[in-house]
Symmetry: none
Subunit: 210 residues, 2 copies
C-alpha cells in the first residue's frame, strides 16, 4: 500500500509540482490545501499517514496547523516544508511534534526521503538544518524564543493580514471576545498599542509578508 499524504502550501503551482514529484515515487497525494484551516479539515476527513505543511500560509501557519492536527488526527505525522533556514522555526516545530523539517532549497529527493523516514516512524531533518537544531537543543532544552503563546501568535498573524477581530474569531472558531482577549494580551506583552505597530512587529518577526 502506498504512503498516503496531503499537501498544504498556499502556492498551487508549487503543490502541483510536488504532486508530480511524489506520484513519481509512488506516494499517493490524497489532497491539497491552500491554507491552514483547509489543511486541518482535510486531515480530519482523510486521515492521511503524513501531512506536508508549508510554514507560511495565510490565516493559520504550519506550526498552528501542527498542533491542531495532533488533536483531530493523532496518527497523522507531520512534515514541515519551508524556506526558513533559521533554526528557531525548526526547534519550535519539533517541539510541537513535527516529525520532519525540510527546506525548500533542498532537492525534491530530500522531501521524498523525509516522507519515507517519517513513514517508518523516524525523524528527519534537512541536512543544512541538522547541526543548528542539534546545537539549539543542546544549548537550550526548554524556553522557545517568543513571549507570545501559540494562540496569540495566530491572532497576531491574522491581525497583520488585515482581518477584523470578528473575522479572526470566525476563522479560529472562537468567540469574538476571546479573540479580543488574545489581541489585547499581545498588545500588553509587546507593549504596542495600535494596529499599525502590531503589523510592523508581525513583519519584523516573519509572521507575515510586507
Amino acid at each position: 500500500m502506498p504512503i498516503r499524504v496531503i499537501l498544504a502550501d498556499d502556492h498551487l503551482l508549487v503543490r502541483q509540482g510536488l504532486r508530480l514529484v511524489l506520484e513519481k515515487e509512488h506516494i499517493e497525494v490524497l489532497g491539497e490545501a491552500s491554507d491552514g484551516l483547509e489543511a486541518i479539515r482535510m486531515i480530519q476527513e482523510l486521515l492521511p499517514e503524513i501531512a506536508v505543511l508549508d510554514l507560511d500560509m495565510p490565516g493559520l501557519d504550519g506550526l498552528s496547523v501542527l498542533r491542531e492536527a495532533a488533536r483531530v488526527s493523532p496518527q497523522t505525522r507531520t512534515i514541515i516544508l519551508t524556506r526558513h533556514m533559521e533554526e528557531p522555526y525548526a526547534v519550535e516545530a519539533l517541539r510541537i511534534g513535527a516529525r520532519a523539517y525540510v527546506l525548500k532549497t533542498q532537492a525534491s529527493t530530500d522531501l521524498v526521503a523525509a516522507i519515507r523516514h517519517v513513514d517508518r516512524g523516524e525523524v528527519y531533518l534537512s541536512p543544512k538544518i541538522s547541526n543548528a537544531v542539534v546545537r539549539a537543543f543542546l544549548t537550550n532544552p526548554d524556553a522557545p524564543n517568543g513571549k507570545l503563546s501559540l494562540r496569540e501568535r495566530q491572532v497576531l498573524q491574522l491581525v497583520g493580514e488585515g482581518h477584523s477581530t470578528k473575522k479572526i474569531a470566525a476563522l479560529l472558531g472562537i468567540s469574538t471576545k476571546t479573540a479580543d482577549t488574545h489581541r489585547t494580551k499581545v498588545m500588553e506583552k509587546l507593549d504596542i498599542h495600535q494596529t499599525a505597530g502590531l503589523v510592523r512587529y508581525a513583519i519584523r518577526n516573519g509572521l507575515i509578508e510586507p
Copy 2:
C-alpha cells in the same frame, strides 16, 4: 523543436517540481539557477528562448536579472514567476520588459500557458492580476509610483507609524476631518480597506521601516 527555457528560483524543490510539470508538456528545461547571478550566467551561455524568473531571489532579484538579461541575450524573453499579487510589482516588471507575469498561487497550467503565449510573441498575465494591471496602466500611463498626492503620502506615512487620525491632524496642523478625508482617499486609491493593509503598503513602498 521544443521550447527551450531556463528556470530561476531559489528553491530547488520548487524548481524540480516545475521541471516535471514543463517536461510533461514537452518544454525543454535547459538549466536551473538558484540565484540571480547564476540565472544571468546561464542565460548568457545557453541563450534560451524563455527564462522563468522568481521575483524573490538572494543576491539579485528577478527585476534586476530582467534588466541584465535584456543586455546579454536580447532574444531571450522573460517570464516573472512570483507569490506577489500586488500590481506595482507586475507593472514594474512589464515596464522593464517582462513578457509574462505568473502567480505561484495559480495552477501549473497557467505557467505552461504563459510559456506558450510568450513563445508566440504575446504577453501573458495571470488572470488574477490582469484587471489590476490594466487598470493601473489605463488610469496612470506614466507617473512612476505616485498615485498618491504629497499630502496623502504624508498621512499614509503617519498612519503607518501608528498615529491616530486626530494625532495626524495635530501634527500636520489641519482639522481631524481633513486628515480623515486624506486617509479615506488613500484607501480608495490603493483599494486597501484596513489599517493593516495600509501599513504593509507603506513598508513595501519604503515610506516607513518595518
